[in-house]
């Protein structure tokens, strides 16, 4: 799948952006549905919250926060690339977006456990 011509930083940035975009699109409907339970079926929501205490789920949440942050910062980089005067530091910026996302999601995980 990752053929030789794809092994460079900005291609990895692209594939992460696509994966995180798809993950967001799959996650958000579920997210809104569960939040809506607060109005329609609060008991089931409480049951759901207990489930989120599981370590696996917490780790999965870390993954989601990471992907969300990555998609946002990576997306901002792409929009800056398209709209602002050209900068040659695209690899650095992409790596920076990944680092900041990891930091944010890491803090989220540490606070959750």
């Amino acid at each position: 799948m990752i053929r030789p011509h794809r092994t460079h930083a900005l291609w990895y940035a692209f594939i992460l952006h696509r994966i995180s975009g798809i993950a967001l699109a799959l996650f958000l409907p579920v997210h809104f549905y569960t939040l809506a339970l607060a109005l329609t079926d609060p008991e089931r929501l409480d049951g759901f919250f207990q489930w989120t205490e599981l370590a696996v789920v917490k780790f999965a949440e870390f993954g989601l926060v990471f992907l969300l942050a990555l998609h946002m910062f990576g997306g901002l980089r792409l929009m800056a690339l398209e709209w602002l005067p050209w900068s040659d530091r695209q690899k650095t910026l992409a790596a920076g977006a990944a680092a900041v996302s990891f930091l944010i999601s890491g803090v989220f995980l540490l606070r959750a456990i």
Binding site: P4, H5, R6, H8, L10, F14, L78, W86, Q90
Partner: protein, 242 residues
């Protein structure tokens, strides 16, 4: 697999657009040897029917590009040592283009798109007019200068996944050419260019993966040129609506 350091193990693609397979050759290793030298050696000493294309041998003409161990390269200026992995190298025809035979691709789609992108000069003057004075330090001129060393080798076109996924996509080289002309004070076709690059196969298809800029043997940056076109087409769109 024996690996004799005096010999390279070379796999070369044999076939046409419908079928083919890699064929193995052993080629004497030299101290200084390019991928094109290897291909020529096979054709001269092992199989005269091997088809490939080159002309200048010095990185000027853009006709010798091939896939070397899976990445697009200008073979006349790619040293074997740079590409070799475990004394092996695979050499195939450029990606994203129809294969005529063996290592020779049909580059017509690449050049046709160059024309579709309006990558040709649109005159602003006649022979009777005085020659226009160009300020070499002018911002637009400097932007145009960045793309003029393109040798039409199609390495970027072969590297681009968007080209692979969309037959109509004009591709990095043609779009970069359009951007160069858009910034050229002597070109009178600015609006024509913007229209040509904003259609279904136009600049907005680009996902900024940057494979074009990563592999361009002349260190050009088609990704940046395409970003410029995205900006120019969008600004022109909003101005038109005002």
């Amino acid at each position: 697999m024996s690996s004799d350091p005096d010999e390279l193990e070379v796999s070369v693609w044999r076939g046409d657009n419908t079928s083919g397979q890699f064929e193995d050759f052993r080629v004497p290793a030299q101290e200084n040897q390019t991928i094109l030298d290897v291909v020529s050696w096979i054709q001269q000493h092992r199989d005269p029917t091997l088809s490939y294309r080159y002309a200048c041998r010095v990185g000027m003409c853009g006709s010798c590009a091939m896939m070397v161990n899976g990445v697009p390269r200008w073979t006349c200026r790619t040293h074997v040592k740079v590409a070799l992995k475990d004394n092996r190298v695979s050499i195939g025809p450029l990606r994203n283009l129809p294969v005529i035979k063996d290592l020779a691709t049909d580059m017509d789609p690449f050049f046709d798109k160059w024309v579709t992108a309006e990558g040709m000069h649109h005159p602003s003057k006649t022979r009777d007019d005085a020659i226009e004075q160009i300020d070499p330090e002018d911002g637009a001129r400097l932007e145009a200068n960045k793309g003029i060393e393109c040798i039409n080798c199609s390495v970027c076109y072969a590297a681009c996944d968007t080209v692979a996924g969309n037959d109509d996509y004009l591709g990095p080289a043609a779009l970069q050419r359009a951007w160069t002309l858009y910034n050229d004070a002597k070109d009178a076709g600015k609006q024509t260019i913007l229209e040509a690059v904003s259609g279904t196969g136009g600049c907005h298809n680009c996902h900024s993966q940057g494979s074009c800029s990563h592999y361009c043997p002349n260190d050009l940056n088609p990704m940046a040129a395409i970003a410029g076109l995205k900006r120019a087409t969008a600004l022109s769109f909003f101005k038109g609506r005002k």
